[in-house]
Symmetry: C2
Subunit: 276 residues, 2 copies
């Protein structure tokens, strides 16, 4: 297990963490100012400043990427299937341009027909896989917390995400894996066993914390150390499984969105070194 | 699969559904008025009117029980372990007095040490089991939705609850099983497989619905038919596994708590017959 206490060389900032404080270029500037070495940008934030300008800003700041958010959001609506597939191809192309090590997939929620939605999701990911492999940008399925099953993602556990990987990539040819966020997976009684099973399929590792009480199911995530998640124990498992990439801070929080950008980054760095 | 459309003979009302409209005796009267044949009372509601008076009211109304809520809430606090065990024995004795077919266990949440909490819970249930068997009141472990893992229950999936049953009752000698509530388990990609595995261990089946959006993580459950859960599909699996008991409506909802008691029961009956 890596010792994080001496510096923050493996810290990455997911740009959604700072989405209300400034545009992508302002976020990149702030990260560079704090000697942060990586970011994980969101598509809408990239689009707002333009892909070329964003790519140049990231490159000029010497930043690496820990992922690109996000593809997926598969739909059963026949009229939109092709449009969604085209959009997912564009997401892969953008990720390639930006040099992202993976495209994070949030697969979309479900109405009543969960089994049908899950089949559609597996089909959608399967359809993306050849282009992902050709682009050199692997797809990272992110299981979201079960409280989002109805409206955001119908892949809700590490086991379920890995079952999809096994089905679509039975011979482990690559191009497919998982993004594990402690917020979504910490509660799972078999999470450590599933992390071990995941092994090299772990393409991204996200941290934040689970607050008690939680005021909002979407936008009240906690800063690491302010909640109940045993983050070091999860990081230990993830690193024992072979993951040695960036540790990405992704916090959706009205509280932290209302704080000055430098305060947020200073806190992220301090917590990364002390409680992650 | 039973046809529920013709009457409501298998409907049970969990008394928490009506906890703000009246005391236990008022709830029992209302259920009898609507020709409902069973209730599942909560301990605090029984205690508020007195066990003997409650037992007499239930008996006089000709009501059966579909369960008794609730035991569990195990603690790691050494000073309280014995008190909690004593209280759980009293809960079993009350359940016996009331003629409940099971005592529903909500096992308590966890601070950071989830594995430790889960071990404590298994130990606590194991300690209750001999008395449960002697009382003829089986223990029904209720897995709660993962969004409650931090503060209410660290048993969060059907698989996890059944693993505990297998460990404590490896030879299926009885006295131990699960209470399955669609609100807690509907999202689980392997729920139907786990229900089949549960078989005769299913001691209770609870229904309500999952609203989108949900305004409150605790007290915004929906009336059956108002949300996204495919309740008939879950009931089909539960009954295919061998369950033939009461279908218990348990709704924690500020909205329904503010409605007149007869309106709630009329709606429960109509929805039970049409969408459960």
């Amino acid at each position: 297990m890596r010792d994080l206490s001496n510096d923050h060389r493996w810290l990455s900032i997911n740009t959604a963490t700072l989405r209300k404080q400034g545009d992508l270029c302002a976020i990149v500037d702030a990260c560079a100012r704090h000697e942060i070495r990586a970011v994980a940008p969101w598509r809408d934030q990239i689009a707002a400043v333009g892909l070329d300008r964003a790519a140049k800003a990231i490159r000029d700041a010497g930043l690496a990427l820990s992922g690109y958010c996000r593809g997926g959001l598969f739909t059963a609506d026949a009229a939109h299937v092709q449009a969604m597939r085209d959009d997912n191809r564009r997401a892969l192309d953008e990720a390639h341009t930006l040099g992202a090590p993976c495209l994070v997939l949030v697969v979309g929620g479900s109405s009543r027909d969960l089994p049908g939605a899950r089949q559609m999701v597996a089909d959608g990911i399967g359809a993306m896989l050849p282009h992902a492999r050709a682009s050199g940008v692997p797809l990272a399925i992110e299981p979201l917390h079960p409280m989002y099953a109805a409206d955001r993602a119908c892949v809700n556990t590490t086991r379920q995400a890995l079952d999809i990987c096994d089905r679509l990539d039975p011979h482990n040819e690559g191009g497919l894996g998982v993004a594990l966020d402690v917020f979504h997976i910490w509660w799972d009684f078999e999470v450590h066993a599933q992390i071990a099973r995941a092994g090299r399929r772990i393409l991204a590792f996200h941290v934040c914390d689970w607050l008690v009480p939680m005021r909002d199911m979407l936008n009240d995530r906690g800063m690491m150390g302010d909640g109940v998640i045993d983050i070091p124990r999860l990081r230990e498992s993830v690193e024992a499984a072979g993951f040695d990439g960036f540790i990405e801070v992704e916090i959706f929080s009205e509280r932290w969105w209302s704080a000055p950008i430098d305060d947020v980054l200073t806190t992220c760095i301090a917590r990364y070194r002390s409680v992650v």
